[in-house]
Structure formats: structure tokens, C-alpha cells
Symmetry: C2
Subunit: 206 residues, 2 copies
């Protein structure tokens, strides 16, 4: 019954392997055999731990989404300075993206091809949007930033951070075919650029 007592943490190995394969190939492109190979076990054991591809996938998908949502939520404090928020948000978000560059494309693709899956997790994991909205509105009221619908601001932030990762292979080809180090350097500069860009865009007119 209790698989936690094992000497080898096979379950963890399987989850890591599944994560790698699912994120690279998506649900349709992933093969159970490939996950087993990646985990260094055989297919029978894979089904012994996770009955079906679907169950295994849901596990991976929900965790991936929960990780991202948590990073975002951690940056949100209902009271506080927008610019502090932006700095911590961009810093945390770009850090997790650097470590997991393929996660956004994975998530976006799966929710686009199976939007009905959203319902499964949207009760378990929630973005603290109300908190973000309150913070934004407070800063606007205090004239620390120009007036703007909070929804646009958070989408602006997410888009500016995430887009280079979603479009990475295209970027590397279009911009940096000659100098391959350019893409990495670009992503390195990006943090400061984004922070500066938002400060400039949001500052009240003088």
C-alpha cells in the first residue's frame, strides 16, 4: 500500500521523468514508453504507480500550474508600492522561467487544446487577483502611478516576461542566428529592461 517506505524513491523519479517528457512533447506527443525510459524503469512499473497516462498527466499539469501561480501570488501584497511589486514579481518570475523555460508553452498549449481542463484545477489553485487589484487601485489613488485598468497591467507584466520564452526558438533564429550567445545575453538584460520600462510607463506626469 504505502509506497513512501521504499528504499528507492521511484515515484519521484517517475514524476520527474514524466514532467520532462510531457513538458517537451505535450500530452499527445508524449509516449508512456519514453517516460519509462527517461525514469530508468519499465512500462509495467509505470502503470503500477500511475494507472493511466491521463492520471499521470494531470498530476504533472496541476503541479506545473500551481508552481507558477504560487510565484505570482508570493509577489502580491495587498498594501504596498507598485514599483516594489514589479521588481519582486519580475525578479521571481524570470528566475523560475530561466529554470523552467518550457513550462509556459506547455501550459498554454494544453489549456488551448483542452480548455475544459481548467475547471479541474481552478478550484484548487487560485491567483490572488483581488489582492493585486486592490494594490493597484491604492497606488493609483495615492497618485504613485497613472490610472489604468489593473487587468491590463498584470497582463502587460506577464506578457513581457513570458513571451521571450514561449517564442525562444523563433527568437534565436530570427535575431541571433549569427551570434548564439546573443539570446542568452538578451534574456539576461531583459529583467532590467522590463523594470525600467514599467517605471517609465507608470510614473505620473510631472
Amino acid at each position: 500500500m504505502d509506497k513512501g517506505k521504499t528504499k528507492h524513491n521511484t515515484e519521484q523519479q517517475i514524476l520527474e521523468a514524466a514532467r520532462t517528457v510531457f513538458i517537451r512533447k505535450g500530452l499527445d506527443g508524449a509516449r508512456m514508453q519514453e517516460i519509462a525510459d527517461e525514469a530508468g524503469i519499465n512500462k509495467a512499473l509505470l502503470h503500477y504507480y500511475f494507472r493511466s497516462k491521463e492520471k499521470l498527466f494531470n498530476h504533472i499539469f496541476e503541479n506545473a500550474l500551481a508552481d507558477i501561480f504560487e510565484i505570482i501570488n508570493q509577489s502580491i501584497h495587498e498594501e504596498g508600492d507598485v514599483y516594489v511589486f514589479i521588481e519582486t514579481f519580475v525578479d521571481h518570475y524570470l528566475t523560475i522561467l530561466k529554470k523552467n523555460p518550457f513550462i509556459p508553452n506547455f501550459i498554454f498549449n494544453e489549456i488551448n487544446s483542452h480548455p475544459e481542463r481548467i475547471g479541474l484545477f481552478s478550484r484548487k489553485i487560485k491567483l490572488n487577483i483581488p489582492g493585486f487589484i486592490r494594490m493597484t487601485e491604492q497606488n493609483i489613488a495615492q497618485k504613485k502611478m497613472i490610472s489604468m485598468p489593473p487587468e491590463h497591467l498584470i497582463i502587460d507584466l506577464l506578457g513581457m516576461c513570458v513571451f521571450p520564452y514561449v517564442a525562444k526558438p523563433l527568437l534565436e533564429d530570427v535575431f541571433f542566428r549569427d551570434h548564439p550567445a546573443g539570446a542568452d545575453n538578451f534574456l539576461y538584460e531583459r529583467k532590467q529592461h522590463i523594470i525600467y520600462f514599467f517605471k517609465k510607463a507608470l510614473q505620473p506626469k510631472q
Copy 2:
């Protein structure tokens, strides 16, 4: 030999059907039978026109990418005002996105799962990046905008426009679950927001 002489333009029907299915489901998720059904023909005829799934897919994929690239190129003029460029770019790009909301996710997912495919088209279709860079640098030299690496500017623009479409199902759930019209309204407002945002961010300090 020449299929163009047919009374019924079956080839066109097939291409449209294939486009619909591939964009919705991706290469791995798409089924030849489904494409045949969508086109109102049978599977044999599908292979009569396009020998294999791969050939059909490449056709669709390249066209989808060429359409996007062309819109972007049309906005680029090597001499001219950045703010004019931004307005026309955002206008054109958001218009084509509104008509083809699933194309970006389709493209990004395919290039992420098969990056080697980039080589196939990158010689046929090119973004006019050098033109864009010259225009940006001129505007900076003329002190019409603040100094900034042109690569960041174009990525900023693309990200701000495209992100809401890539993340649309998530947006609708997270922001607009209660008021479903909210998402459409959000996308409607977005154009003015983006243009204003960039003007504010790029204007030289006074």
C-alpha cells in the same frame, strides 16, 4: 496533373479544413480522418491531393507563419516615426489576431516541439529585422525616443499584443469568470492601452 482546372476547388477545401484542425489540435493531436470529415471528403481523396500528413502539415504551417511575418513586415518602414510604426503595427497585428486567435499558440507549440523545422522556412520567409533596427536607431538619434536596444522593443510589442491570445482560456477563467463579456471588452480596450503605454514609456524625459 493540373488540379487547378477542377470545377470544385477541393484543394482549397482541404487546405482550409487542415488549417482548422491542425491549428486546433496541433500536428500530434490532428487526425487525417478528422481533416477529411471537416473538408467533407474521404480519406483516400485526402491522400490523393497531399501524399502524407507531414506534407499537408508543412503546407499549413508555412502559410500560417508567412501570414504573420508579412503583417509585421508591412508595418516596418526603415525611415519614419516610431510612434507611427507602433500604431500601425499594433493595429494590424491585433486585427489579424482577432481573426486568427489560435495561430500564435499553434506556431509557438510547433516550433517548441520541433525546433529543427525552423530551418525549413527561415530561408523562404524573413522578418525585416534590419529595417526595424535602422528605424529604431534613427529615432533614438533624433531624440524622438529614449535609448533602448531595438530587440527589446520589438519583443515588448509582440509580447503585449500576442500574450492575451496565447493565454486566453486562462484569462477568461481567472479574470472574467463572472462576466463573460469582460474578456472581449478587455481585448477591445487593449489596442488603445498598448499604444498609450508605449508612447508613455518611450517618450524622452522632459
